[in-house]
């Protein structure tokens, strides 16, 4: 390391620096305040009687015994709550032809998945509510259930919602033309059928809401464990007929979200409806058993894919067929089509080839709703792409690294576009690949692998390149008619003591939003970050914005903060100029001081400017009105999305007798543009990788033939734990986006996007000496043993 001064040596130069999160100290002391902790005066608790059948007509409901039980305050059915809640439909206009049925908090006549809430019981405590829920008697007429992914489309199958005509939610096609001819003339064709199981988010804190409706003022306050409070403010306003300004959504500390807590859930809507009916606060916390049958599930794809190559080993085209099953209806307000849409548009995107055909069928089935979860569609797209690339390498006798060198889009080829329509501003696949080979010592690992094979030890090395969609503009949801904002807003104030408060619409989930906003404001305002208070997660105290999803927090929220801070700094310096009788362009601000921009000489403290502005405006020159609060909104206007990219590698050892896999090590080289806080970025990567490894090896929602979730508890659904997870090495390549001044692109999903692909390739690499292969996730011992022909 040289001793030369870097940009990080300037005062308040926080961007690029690893700083810990100020708000983490509270969590470490057990002083977090989660919705599950919240108690309000006269608060009631709700429990639900749930359908035991995957598909059944509700014949009758008998509440008579339950109503008389101790502490019971209300029992409500679908018809009761339909009186206060307008139905919602999870479709978007830009998915042409997509369809779904209207949803209500509780069903009127039919249950469409096992575990669907049918009757709500409100009581003085959760235990009493559960006692009474057990005593509700519902008579059902069981109907044939659609469970299998292929069964949904066979002609004789039951149609879950006859009013829709069939069980197809959406059918999409991409075709650049002449694919059949291309494959017919190809030197090599590789093909595979992939299966990706359902899994689910399993946030540590389950879903939770305390809905508090005050009929006197017609005000609803929803304390809601969500990552998108503004979206829910809009939804509660429209669906419950309450003026938007009277709806306040507060999202305090959130115990994990990962995309799961931004969808509309029937129980949450029921809690709001019950509070409106009762005029009292109603609390709903999903217990873990309820979480498994009511949180969104994710993935669930069957993909058939082919890849064509020329004699040189150049990929010339892909042909893909994806079927994904999404539950009995499409989720609201983001739909259940985005996942499949991203699968069939992301496949192949790191590579140069331009010939592409893809078919996407999104089908209904009698399982809980499927929708967006961390790295929406990416893990499927890259598992398919990268496995095909490895198969192509094998077919052409090339090393997987060489195969990628030959086919990845060159780093100097940007801007360019994928055959699926995505436009890339500037990516760095080759730089990442080179860096990866360095940090993992690829050649040494290959040599070691060959050596160990001689001794009956089967290790595998898997590589996976990826791109990741981030910073979505209005083309993502807005043009489809969803009231989901692509802009963010910030209000920054200098307080009378010269401290800074920044209220911003991006939200904190523990990923570090408040920390990076503080870093950005501190650097661009010229104030020590210890004096900056960042306020998030409350629609009443922060401006409307998209909040956090699709890795938009740093890229869009961060740019919003940057521009707001710049604007405020102009105001402060202009005011200081008036006070100091100095040209504003000769002044700057550092460390909470107005300084001479040339010399850095301290002229006057910000606190003194604030004191004069707030308390002695009489001493300001006539006509000067101090503006120490600014509001600024920012929406992306350049590329429709800012793509990030990177590459991952997984190193595994397969016990070929037992089918058990030990994950030895994992590497990530990623390019998320400007890195604001390396400590936080690296932890986003690691957490994301492990979620992907969970999907690769452990996690799967297993259903019986009758649509019962058979492993719906935390003891039976296997989440990745500390012993089985590897150490993960991270390196960065930085290609800032030129669309913003900040240059950040986002980093929350990259880890999850490609770790399953790397793992899939690694296991197949280990199995290669046995001519065995696997194309199904999770890769359980049973599936590996089957692949090896041992059982």
């Amino acid at each position: 390391m040289s001793d030369a001064l870097t940009s990080l040596d300037r005062p308040n130069s926080y961007i690029g620096r690893s700083v810990p999160r100020p708000n983490a100290k509270r969590l470490l002391a057990g002083r977090g305040r989660y919705i599950t902790d919240l108690v309000l005066p006269r608060m009631l608790h709700v429990a639900f009687m749930r359908s035991p059948y995957a598909h059944a007509r509700i014949v009758s409901i008998d509440n008579s015994t339950a109503k008389a039980m101790p502490g019971v305050r209300l029992i409500a059915t679908g018809a009761d709550l339909a009186k206060v809640c307008k139905p919602w439909v999870g479709t978007l206009d830009h998915f042409k032809g997509m369809k779904s049925t209207p949803q209500l908090p509780l069903p009127l006549d039919k249950a469409v998945w096992a575990g669907q809430a049918v009757v709500a019981v409100v009581a003085d405590s959760r235990a009493l509510a559960e006692d009474a829920a057990e005593a509700v008697v519902v008579e059902y007429e069981e109907l044939p259930a659609v469970i299998d992914i292929d069964a949904a489309r066979t002609p004789e199958t039951t149609v879950i919602s006859p009013e829709l005509g069939d069980n197809v939610c959406f059918h999409g096609k991409i075709d650049t033309g002449n694919i059949d001819e291309l494959f017919a003339g190809a030197a090599h064709v590789v093909e595979e059928e992939f299966h990706f199981g359902r899994h689910t988010a399993v946030t540590m804190e389950p879903r939770a809401i305390v809905a508090d409706f005050d009929p006197n003022e017609m005000r609803l306050t929803a304390h809601h464990a969500t990552q998108t409070p503004y979206q829910f403010q809009d939804i509660y306003s429209r669906h419950f007929g309450i003026p938007e300004a009277n709806v306040r959504v507060i999202a305090p500390d959130i115990g994990g979200s990962f995309g799961m807590k931004l969808h509309v859930y029937h129980e949450d809507m029921a809690a709001v409806a019950l509070s409106i009916v009762l005029g009292r606060p109603v609390k709903y916390v999903a217990d873990r058993i309820e979480s498994f049958v009511s949180d969104i599930h994710a993935r669930d794809h069957r993909v058939r894919a082919r890849m064509a190559l020329d004699t040189e080993g150049t990929i010339i085209g892909m042909d893909v067929d994806d079927v994904t099953a999404v539950g009995p209806f499409s989720a609201y307000p983001r739909t259940s089509v985005v996942e499949g849409n991203q699968v069939f548009r992301l496949i192949g995107t790191p590579y140069r080839f331009q010939n592409y055909r893809a078919d996407l069928q999104v089908v209904f089935q009698n399982k809980v709703q499927m929708s967006q979860y961390r790295a929406v569609g990416h893990p499927i797209a890259f598992a398919v792409t990268e496995r095909m690339v490895d198969m192509a390498a094998a077919a052409t006798g090339m090393d997987p690294v060489e195969m990628r060198r030959r086919n990845l889009i060159p780093d100097d080829a940007y801007p360019c576009a994928a055959p699926t329509g995505y436009k890339f501003e500037a990516l760095s696949h080759h730089a990442c690949l080179t860096r990866l080979c360095e940090i993992m010592d690829y050649d040494r690992l290959r040599a070691e692998q060959a050596e160990l094979r001689k001794r009956g030890i089967y290790r595998g090395i898997g590589i996976a390149s990826f791109v990741e969609i981030s910073n979505p503009g209005p083309a993502f949801y807005g043009v489809g008619g969803a009231r989901i904002s692509s802009q963010d807003g910030a209000v920054i104030t200098i307080t009378p003591s010269g401290d800074v408060r920044c209220a911003i619409s991006v939200t904190e989930l523990g990923q570090g939003t408040e920390t990076i906003v503080g870093q950005i404001v501190g650097e661009h305002l010229g104030v020590d970050r210890e004096r900056i208070k960042v306020i998030t997660g409350d629609t009443e105290t922060t401006p409307h914005g998209g909040a956090v999803w699709a890795c938009r927090g740093a890229g869009i929220g961060g740019e919003t903060a940057l521009r707001a801070a710049r604007k405020l700094k102009e105001n402060v310096i202009s005011l200081a100029g008036s006070i100091l009788q100095e040209q504003p362009d000769k002044l700057d601000m550092h460390g909470g001081w107005i300084v001479d921009s040339d010399t850095g000489r301290q002229r006057v403290e910000l606190a003194e400017i604030a004191r004069i502005a707030y308390f002695r405006s009489d001493t300001l020159p006539p006509g000067t009105q101090a503006q120490l609060t600014v509001a600024h909104h920012y929406a992306p206007q350049g590329y429709p999305f800012a793509f990030t990219n990177g590459i991952q590698a997984s190193h595994v050892e397969v016990d070929v007798e037992t089918g058990f896999v030990k994950i030895l090590k994992h590497w990530v080289v990623e390019d998320c543009g400007r890195v604001i806080n390396p400590l936080l970025v690296d932890e986003q990567m690691r957490g994301g990788v492990v979620q992907g490894l969970g999907a690769a090896f452990f996690e799967e929602c297993l259903y019986s033939d009758t649509g019962q979730l058979i492993n719906g508890s935390l003891a039976d659904y296997l989440v990745p734990m500390a012993v089985e997870m590897p150490d993960i090495e991270i390196a960065h390549v930085e290609t800032p986006t030129a669309d913003t001044e900040l240059g950040a692109k986002g980093c929350g999903e990259a880890g999850t996007a490609a770790s399953p692909a790397a793992a899939l390739n690694a296991v197949n690499d280990a199995l290669a000496p046995f001519d065995a292969s696997i194309a199904q996730l999770p890769m359980t011992p049973a599936r590996i043993l089957k692949a090896l022909g041992r059982i």
Binding site: L27, L28, G30, M204, G256, D287, R288, G687, V689
Partner: protein
């Protein structure tokens, strides 16, 4: 013998006497009656480790125990350990290493860390991971937690060695 019973406990050094239903778990008792909400519930079946507390000096799941069973015991929660600065070094290491994101698993992680670090010697990374085998974290991927615990183990061992050297020298 009754469905409602009086529970006597020492919690974080304070004597507590409260009536509660016999069916109330220690986790619910601590969270709702004593407002000790630092003890979290993630599964209510002893799998996730978010509800770990110390009962008579041993780390146990407060969701796998009825408050009635604990009556007569000494209980310590994350609030108690924090306030008497018993785990300040672990908390500081977690903070510096960013060994938490959402923080929901964190009190349980700290309980496990404290139990492990109370034993003599410096645990290996594998031993740390083994000790954490019953603590679920969805955010971090565990490595930062392992790093933080490892750094405290080394620091504590260095301090202990330093003390021994001083004693020998003195």
């Amino acid at each position: 013998m009754s469905e409602q019973i009086t529970i006597h406990l020492t919690v974080n050094g304070e004597d507590v006497s409260q009536n509660a239903p016999a069916r109330e778990t220690l986790a619910d008792f601590l969270r709702t009656r004593l407002q000790l909400t630092g003890t979290h519930m993630g599964c209510e079946m002893g799998v996730c480790g978010a509800c770990l507390v110390l009962v008579d000096g041993r780390v146990v799941h407060s969701c796998l125990m009825f408050a009635a069973q604990a009556s007569g015991s000494v209980v310590e929660t994350i609030e108690g350990l924090s306030e008497r600065a018993a785990i300040a070094d672990i908390q500081e290491a977690f903070h510096q290493r960013n060994a938490l994101q959402c923080g929901f698993c964190t009190p349980g992680m700290l309980m496990t860390a404290q139990a492990l670090l109370s034993q003599p010697g410096v645990p290996s990374r594998d031993e740390i991971r083994d000790a954490l085998s019953g603590n679920y974290c969805r955010c971090t991927g565990y490595e930062a937690i392992v790093d933080a615990i490892e750094s405290v183990a080394r620091a504590r061992a260095a301090t202990a060695n330093g003390r021994q050297v001083e004693e020998v020298a003195g």
